[in-house]
């Protein structure tokens, strides 16, 4: 599977693709964890949302 | 000292003059018994109509900035926040505060950084009954520690204070 003279560019393209895709996945997961942490902290402090209140009432 | 008088009689201007935010065309401002090295504005707190708070910063960040900028590097924040009823809101971005809460956060700044002179421009505006009671207590405490207080106000201050009537044309 000889990549010919421009092998560097092909590999660079696929590496760049991997970097961007993995970056996106990592960003989504990190953002999810961050929001969960803040939510848990707020709920632990007893702040309830209106809709939760209506469900509870 | 309560500054009273109709609108536009120069109450705010006098307060800003003492705070060094206005240039007197003649005369000078002097503080007897204050710290000689520090200028009058450096020994005064000014609470204007604007609350000097950044909406994108949290309550704690706002207060910590002002305490560090105005000189108290290691002041603990929870005591002033508790005194102004903002104890539970430390991590809340200031954008979500109501007008009354913003005003109380400014008050917390006055407590966190002890300075002898308090210059209050209509401090009771935007404060509800509870807030005004709390303000009266804070003012009494400040006076008890030998501090000086000049407040421009329309209604009663809730504490006994001398009265300086400005622009008393009537």
């Amino acid at each position: 599977m000889d990549l010919g003279p421009h092998a560097a560019f092909i590999i660079a393209a696929y590496v760049m693709a991997a970097v961007v895709v993995l970056g996106l996945i990592a960003w989504v997961i990190a953002d999810y964890d961050a929001q969960q942490r803040v939510l848990a902290d707020l709920e632990q402090r007893g702040v309830t949302r209106r809709s939760q209140k209506s469900e509870a009432a | 000292m309560a500054l009273v008088g109709p609108n536009g009689s120069g109450k705010s201007s006098l307060l800003r003059l003492i705070a060094g935010l206005l240039r007197p065309s003649a005369g000078w401002i002097e503080l007897q018994g204050g710290d000689a090295e520090r200028s009058v504005p450096e020994q005064a707190h000014y609470l204007g109509h604007l609350d000097a708070l950044k909406p994108s910063l949290t309550v704690a960040e706002n207060l910590r900035f002002w305490t560090r900028y105005l000189g108290e590097q290691t002041a603990a924040l929870d005591e002033p926040l508790a005194a102004t009823g903002l104890g539970g809101l430390a991590d809340l971005p200031a954008a979500y505060l109501s007008a009354g809460q913003r005003r109380r956060l400014s008050l917390a700044r006055l407590i966190a950084v002890p300075r002898p002179i308090w210059l209050l421009d209509e401090p009771t505006s935007a404060l509800d009954a509870g807030g005004q009671g709390r303000l009266a207590d804070l003012m009494r405490e400040h006076l008890a520690t030998g501090g000086m207080l000049i407040a421009a106000t329309h209604g009663p201050l809730g504490i006994d204070a001398g009265e300086l009537r400005l622009g008393g044309a009537a």
Partner: protein, 222 residues
């Protein structure tokens, strides 16, 4: 010292938060540089010749973009009054704000220069030269802009006054910035001469800017 570092830290944190102006400058720089080939045409040789000039003009305008908010924002919410009453001298406080603005707005421009250099088909040497001259020249732009910001705050005249006041003052910085960049590539003279003058301009403005801005603020008090 911590009072100034507190101010520096707060300003940088504000620039990054939602509503802060940090990346606006870079985005404007990117768009301005992308527009030029549409006007000038995609001829790579021509773009290469005027590349440094385009990058410098883009950076100059981008750095001015967010400058008028530098003092106006604090003036509008009352922070400026309290900064005036702080223990630290006004000159240093204003300098701290200028440094925060430089880090939040001008450093990203320098970082973005290599990417934009590709669009203008500049060879690596020219890209390096432009980035270096921008690094040396943007402090001057910020400090001169600081004077304009202080004047426009003191005179209550909003943002439009700032560019008109400041742009003539930035002409030397522009001249030596572009001259140094071109000298590095094809110029008759050496890269050193204009570059050193550029650094001198920056150092000078680091002193002149804060003093003039502080004076403008003090005299601007109504």
């Amino acid at each position: 010292m911590t009072a100034l570092s507190a101010l520096l830290l707060r300003d940088m944190r504000l620039a990054v938060r939602v509503g802060g102006g940090a990346l606006m400058g870079v985005l404007f720089f990117l768009i301005v540089v992308t527009l030029v080939p549409f006007a000038v045409g995609p001829d790579l040789a021509q773009l290469r010749r005027i590349g440094p000039a385009i990058l410098w003009l883009g950076a100059l305008l981008a750095s001015l973009l967010t400058l008028d908010r530098l003092l106006a924002a604090d003036h509008e919410d009352g922070s400026l009054d309290l900064i005036l009453m702080g223990g630290t001298p006004l000159e240093l406080a204003v300098l701290a704000k200028a440094v925060a603005h430089w880090v939040a707005s001008c450093l990203p421009l320098v970082v973005a220069t290599p990417l934009l250099g590709l669009f203008l088909n500049l060879e690596p040497l020219a890209i390096g030269a432009v980035a270096l001259t921008l690094l040396a020249g943007t402090p001057a732009l910020t400090c001169i802009g600081l004077i304009g910001a202080a004047l426009s705050v003191a005179l209550r005249r909003g943002g439009l006054l700032l560019p008109v006041l400041v742009l003539p003052l930035t002409v030397p910085v522009l001249i030596f910035g572009v001259a140094a960049s071109n000298a590095a590539v094809a110029g008759p003279m050496s890269f050193g001469a204009p570059f050193l003058i550029l650094c001198a301009l920056s150092l000078g403005s680091l002193v002149l800017g804060p003093f003039a801005a502080a004076a403008a603020l003090r005299h601007g008090l109504e």
